[in-house]
Assembly symmetry: C2
């Protein structure tokens, strides 16, 4: 493709709404264009990357035995009523409803209802199960806060697959096949995806996994155990399940009072007590919070190194409330010796009792008290999840400290079980005994358009994008310096361009005749893996330059030539064969 | 693909709403499935045909120098206001409006606004023009009467292209390139497409053409001149432009009265006058209709062999009106000697004055009058298009009689000129003098999903579909009779299936072990071009059958083997090489 006539313009400045490098670079290098907040066009360069990614996904899904089909974006509203998801999606669906003549549709944000209806009209015997179908198609979400370019958008391209089996065991087997397929896909995309246990959200089902890429463009967090490799989404973790070792507690420890004049925050009290308790930590404290829920006053307990994350209906007490309840000493609350018959609700972090017991307010002004053990010194009426996990929380498998990773989700797989087939009419097959049985389903989604941003975030440097060879929009960026002024260069470049085209090598040809600086900067920004540079200086010596822009997804044999430098000089007469060799033709 | 696990079910009965064979067969053979009126899913078989069609379109558009990109379906509402098409589309747009948070979108029925905005943000110099971009993407229409399967739907897949040039001459050149490209596409799709002059409708611009396939699933009609090959849509034809030969009129003809007691219809009067005027035809009569427009009474004239087609605001006079206007003799109206000062509006068909003049009512009860010539015997105040063209109307080029063809539109091309660039802000480039100029645009659309139905309508017989080889979902349908019962057949069929897969030959493998009758009927219904049949009888002789289901798009060399029969017997050991040869591998 000749750049002089290509729908491509590079920009020096990134748009104001671009916070991260992938977003800035995809816009600046002319891959995508914003149409509206969270709505993008794929310009010719961007579409080529999208197609390359889609083809890898398609080929791996086909290999895994999945069959491609294509559902409409317009999905009948009554099918969403049948599954009950019209209510679940609540606020989101109305924006996606299309009121056509004689029928209401939902602009499909996902297709479980449609696929269940479709398969149930076709597959009526256990003999035709298991079956797995997929599509690569545009989905619609009324995204409240579009962000990071293609990461969070209102219109997105997804590869969504759905498996149908005759029983739970087969469903699990189909699920395993798809997990392996997804791992293969992300590997071929040059991504280090971590398979993480997750929560099911709007989709449903019991077991499910997210595929996460560690990245600063992520808004998800997962927990990882370096000891035993357990990985799970932060939403899926609860200290309720944490393995603890209560035998470590020193229950002989006596209760001890501390004067803490005017000090109410965990941090201030901790610093003040350092003289007496050199090893004291914030996690030794028990934050005690008086709150109202449904007008009733309750006492919330939470470990001192954590924040109250989710106030679901809790309202903190105001000064007026404290005046009305003089037994509650503001700033010095604690569960020990608390008067008044208040319900005590503890965050699961309160299960992590310190060896020497908790320190909390003493329910006396300017006093704290230490050596408190639940059960011995105070009672807990209810347990709840009131705080988010923090680094070092115990692994649910081995109890060692977990690490927190910021990440972006690129895939999500679900064992749906009977979630949909039990609700949707006639979603059954006949088993060997001729009895109708509901399908055992799984569903699997990859964010295809999002992957462009994720891959760009993983593959860039300070000059621009550095696409892996198998994903790059073109394999070769041919740059002819002085193309318009120098006939010798023009003839040579045109000839090489024709040769490459003839060999079906995808080549972007900079025939614009701009200054070398502009052309080089543009080429580095666009990030095609190989650059061939034909310029007047080297041409006098019968040579041109071959520059390696990206090493990603090249096998090591190809890299040998670039061992000492990312630029090598080649005899002009050898370019053709050098390229053939590099691209393994 | 093994049929035992393929998402495919054939049906004996066609759905009730299927009026035409293509619709019946696509449903019965499991290519598509109805989701809602005018909304379909592409099942795995159907998607394979869709992909084959798309790839042909894509490759020809690429050859023509067009660049593929992808726009969103969500198009900003304010852009439609900018072009003024929010008003033009009037009733249609509201159904397509998506009210997302903070923004209203139109679910794009077409993308002129989006592409103009996009190109204008990228192409700023005449040096980068002409440029042509395209996408293959889902479009949305609030179709009032979905019909004929994929012919008229609410969600459809289109290949829409847009050209941008620096002046009118270049626009015309780009237009010619695309016309040639379209002709090539339809040829490769095995369709005889007729390029027809048309009207521009909602898109705009001056010159435009439709590509029409003659077919009973069409709801369009075009006129064709067998003499000079002029072809134009019936909507684009007007007798106002017809070339006439007034010198043929016999103006010496005298006015002559006829008694026509109680006869008021053209047909009755014509039959009655046959004795006196043996050659009289309905086209010799002038229908004279009294009507009200905006409360004013007007007289409409129209040739006797035509119908008042479009009553746009005309209301026929009722009995009461006739009583109030005794000078208007109901059933015997005519323009000659008409009393009362009524405006006379003539359909352009009144330009086709018969050689001996018109016959009309005589404005006297039970009398008609002949030998009337406009200008000589009556005056016409206004001309309008009140009737539709009929077979035999004069060619606008050579005046010979036109033929009418029922047809379905598969493509439409427009010279838009400045229609959009003059309305949309900054849709300009700098010319050689550095002056901003609006782009000269063209736009071009092919109904990709509709083509599945059109091709199915062209390629079927009474047993089922007969896909051209290059469009068929699979090349080979391998049928193993007694697959489940006969181990010898199973081993042979499995081996052949593996061989074909290994050679990347697309094969559908009937491994269901059903009766031969069911398998044969299904295979003929599905319509894959080659069937290989392995059955117990022939296998004893070391042979199997190769059956040719479709000859379409095979070159003649391949057909030689089937000269005497569409079924040939092959040695089992030779199937592999026979198939290779047939498919030119």
């Amino acid at each position: 493709m000749r750049m002089s006539k290509y729908l491509l313009k590079t920009f020096r400045e990134a748009p104001q709404d671009a916070e991260v490098e992938s977003h800035k670079l995809l816009i600046r290098a002319g891959y995508i264009q914003k149409v509206s907040s969270g709505v993008y066009s794929y310009l010719p360069l961007g579409l080529r990357v999208l197609v390359n990614i889609s083809q890898i996904i398609r080929s791996e899904l086909n290999k895994a035995g999945a069959q491609e089909l294509l559902f409409p974006a317009l999905t009948p509203y009554e099918w969403w009523q049948e599954s009950g998801r019209d209510k679940y999606f609540g606020e989101i669906l109305p924006a996606l409803i299309v009121k056509a003549r004689n029928a209401n549709f939902v602009l499909g944000p996902t297709h479980e209802e449609v696929v269940t209806k479709t398969v149930s009209s076709i597959v009526d015997s256990y003999k035709s199960l298991g079956i797995c179908v997929y599509q690569i198609q545009s989905k619609f979400r009324d995204e409240p806060r579009p962000r990071f370019g293609l990461v969070r958008t209102k219109e997105l391209i997804m590869a969504d697959a759905y498996s149908f089996d005759k029983d739970k065991q087969d469903m699990k087997q189909s699920y395993e096949i798809m997990l392996n397929c997804y791992e293969q896909i992300f590997k071929r995309l040059g991504l280090k995806a971590k398979k993480v246990q997750a929560t099911s959200g709007a989709i449903g089902g019991d077991v499910n996994h997210e595929f996460m890429i560690e990245s600063e463009i992520g808004e998800d967090f997962y927990l990882f155990c370096p000891e035993c490799n357990v990985a799970l989404n932060i939403e899926a973790y609860s200290l309720a399940d944490a393995k603890l070792n209560p035998s470590e507690y020193d229950l002989t420890q006596q209760i001890k009072y501390y004067d803490t004049p005017g000090l109410t925050s965990v941090k201030d009290v901790k610093n003040f007590l350092k003289n007496q308790l050199p090893d004291v930590k914030e996690s030794d404290f028990l934050k005690t919070i008086a709150a109202k829920k449904n007008k009733e006053i309750v006492i919330l307990l939470i470990a001192g190194n954590r924040q109250l994350a989710d106030t679901r209906g809790f309202e903190l007490l105001n000064d007026n409330d404290f005046e009305n309840h003089p037994e509650l000493i503001k700033g010095f609350l604690g569960p020990y010796n608390l008067t008044g018959n208040y319900k005590i609700i503890a965050d699961y972090s309160v299960r992590l009792t310190p060896k020497n017991g908790w320190i909390s307010g003493a329910n006396q002004k300017d006093k704290h008290v230490g050596g408190l053990f639940p059960g011995r010194d105070f009672q807990i009426n209810e347990w709840e999840k009131l705080s988010k996990p923090i680094e070092g929380d115990p692994c649910p498998n081995c109890a060692k400290g977990l690490k927190i990773h910021r990440s972006v989700e690129v895939g999500h797989t679900f064992q749906l079980g009977l979630t949909y087939s039990s609700k949707i009419k006639d979603a059954t097959f006949l088993n060997e005994q001729g009895q109708p049985q509901p399908y055992w389903m799984g569903c699997y989604g990859i964010g295809v358009s999002r992957l462009i941003s994720v891959i760009a975030q993983c593959y860039h440097d300070d000059k621009g994008l550095t696409w892996p060879v198998n994903l790059a929009p073109f394999k070769i960026h041919l740059i002819a310096i002085d193309y318009l002024k120098n006939p010798e260069i023009r003839v040579l470049a045109d000839e090489l361009y024709s040769q490459l085209i003839e060999q079906s090598i995808e080549v972007l040809f900079d025939d614009r005749g701009l200054s070398a600086g502009i052309s080089f900067n543009d080429a580095d920004l666009i990030g095609i893996p190989y650059q061939i540079i034909i310029g007047p200086k080297l041409l006098n010596k019968g040579k041109c330059e071959l520059k390696l822009r990206s090493q990603a997804c090249l096998n090591s044999g190809k890299l040998e030539a670039f061992e000492n430098s990312n630029v090598i000089e080649l005899d002009v007469s050898h370019i053709g064969s050098a390229i053939k060799d590099l691209l393994l033709l």
